[in-house]
């Protein structure tokens, strides 16, 4: 573990009883004494505090920042209003996804949050653009998620209650200049808060002092986002999957599609625009195994009890809120309709699985 990096609030997590595990080059809290199951259910019913400071925070400055970023992502960045955020992804020449991210328009700059495992590569990619890309140092990133998140954060800064889903704002919280977005990755309402290191512990402790807020680890973060139907980079989406295959075409606005005023102009435009017109040969789907046995990443999917593999599970496990196994995976488009029955092979046995609508639990976003 010697070459693993530590996040700024490492000691706080250890004091809270976290089990620390290697993740994306960092020692990260995977669970606290409450355990993954209770942490998950607590976040869905009250509020959970997540430390996601391993993720990359990047600032893009200059009048051309939005136009330049559009050269790397098939997203309408120019049309993103000030004070708003949207989901996006870097694509490659084949139309695959290099990483996914959140892009916020913070007035005189764009603020981009990317995955920890990809952040160096993303930063290099952004540095090739003709603008100053700055990796933000000295700030933690905390996520407060769940139906109780608004009340808990509003006790410290009442103005956050006025923010809608995907709004971003600079908010003074306990004297700290925080960059707050009303978003997250659990399928629940909540906030992501970029806070200076010096004030991060105070903020985390103030939030945890609220009786509705518990610290939540990466284990529950994974089951929450899976039930929320949200993709995990490197698993459900990667360099080999296109946004259309992944069902993320909603993130490609009309202006970047065929017929739009800024159609194309991003890596892999031919493949992606072509698939937007005529569909992809395979699709990411929600999968609900019958019975209680979880189907995890790598489980092969079959059309029949004795036929060859037609696809595989990319994320899967037990969904505490569903109270049963849930999974996502890729199947040929002819098997992607809701209600289709396929089979997943677990320990040599073919078990029935139904293709279902995502998300598994309704989103709690405050739109």
């Amino acid at each position: 573990m010697t070459d693993l990096r530590r996040i700024f609030l490492h000691d706080l997590h250890v004091e809270l009883g976290a089990k620390m595990v290697p993740f994306a080059g960092y020692e990260m809290p995977v669970q606290y004494p409450m355990g993954v199951m209770k942490e998950h259910l607590h976040t869905r019913s009250k509020a959970g505090l997540f430390d996601v400071s391993h993720m990359g925070q990047v600032i893009l400055r200059g009048p051309e920042a939005a136009a330049e970023l559009e050269r790397l992502v098939p997203v309408d960045v120019i049309g993103l209003p000030e004070g708003r955020q949207r989901y996006g992804f870097f694509t490659n020449k084949a139309g695959g996804i290099e990483d996914d991210m959140m892009i916020a328009n913070r007035g005189d700059h764009l603020f981009v949050v990317v995955n920890a495992a990809c952040k160096e590569a993303d930063f290099e990619r952004l540095s090739t653009l003709g603008l100053g890309a700055e990796m933000v140092e000295g700030r933690c990133l905390l996520a407060l998620q769940g139906p109780g998140a608004e009340a808990a954060l509003a006790r410290l800064a009442s103005e956050v209650a006025d923010m809608a889903f995907m709004d971003v704002a600079t908010v003074s919280i306990m004297g700290a200049e925080c960059w707050v977005s009303r978003s997250g990755y659990t399928g629940e309402d909540g906030f992501e808060i970029s806070v200076p290191d010096a004030q991060a512990r105070g903020l985390a402790e103030a939030l945890l002092a609220d009786e509705t807020v518990e610290p939540i680890g990466l284990g529950a973060r994974d089951s929450l986002r899976l039930e929320g139907g949200l993709c995990l980079y490197g698993h459900d989406i990667d360099t080999e999957t296109t946004p259309v295959e992944a069902g993320l075409q909603w993130a490609i606005q009309k202006v970047r599609r065929v017929g739009g005023t800024r159609a194309g102009g991003f890596p892999g435009e031919e493949a992606i625009l072509g698939q937007l017109e005529s569909g992809a040969a395979r699709k990411r789907v929600g999968l609900r195994p019958e019975g209680r046995a979880p189907m995890r990443e790598g489980v092969t999917l079959h059309a029949t009890e004795d036929g060859p593999a037609i696809g595989q599970v990319t994320s899967g496990g037990f969904g505490p809120s569903v109270n049963g196994p849930v999974a996502m995976g890729y199947v040929p488009s002819e098997f992607a309709s809701v209600g289709t029955k396929v089979f997943g092979e677990v320990r040599g046995k073919r078990m029935p699985v139904e293709v279902v609508k995502l998300p598994f639990v309704p989103a709690g976003f405050k739109r």
């Binding site: 355990g35 993954v36 284990g219 037990f318």
Partner: protein, 119 residues
């Protein structure tokens, strides 16, 4: 009580052995969400994988500790896998078996040796 390196506890009563997993193992596994048990009456050999346990984190097995016949399984665990975390060394036993050859029992650890093993 005897213990295996696979973190099973073995409670011996004549030629009947009751098998479960230790509190240490249950804690390491995390919340158990799925249990698959052998058939009652099944003949098993030492080291056969006869129970599947899935937790929120991963899948693991319980091996038959000895040769013999499964005489009883704890079906309540299939309905409520969380019992394994609540009472691993009591109510949450997995199966009982009638053992045909007790001699491997000598190789298993006593409580002091097991405590040493996990420390």
């Amino acid at each position: 009580m005897k213990y295996t390196e696979e973190h099973e506890w073995l409670d011996v009563d004549g030629d009947i052995v009751t098998v479960g997993i230790t509190a240490h193992a249950a804690e390491q596994l995390g919340d158990v969400v799925f249990v698959e048990l052998p058939e009652e009456g099944a003949e098993v050999s030492k080291d056969d994988e006869i129970v599947v346990i899935e937790s929120v984190k991963a899948a693991s097995d319980i091996l038959a500790p000895l040769d013999g016949e499964i005489t009883e399984v704890n079906s309540a665990l299939v309905e409520d896998p969380g019992k394994v975390n609540e009472d691993p060394e009591g109510d949450a036993w997995f199966f009982k078996m009638k053992v045909s050859d007790m001699s491997p029992m000598d190789d298993y650890m006593d409580e002091a040796a097991y405590k040493d093993f996990i420390s």
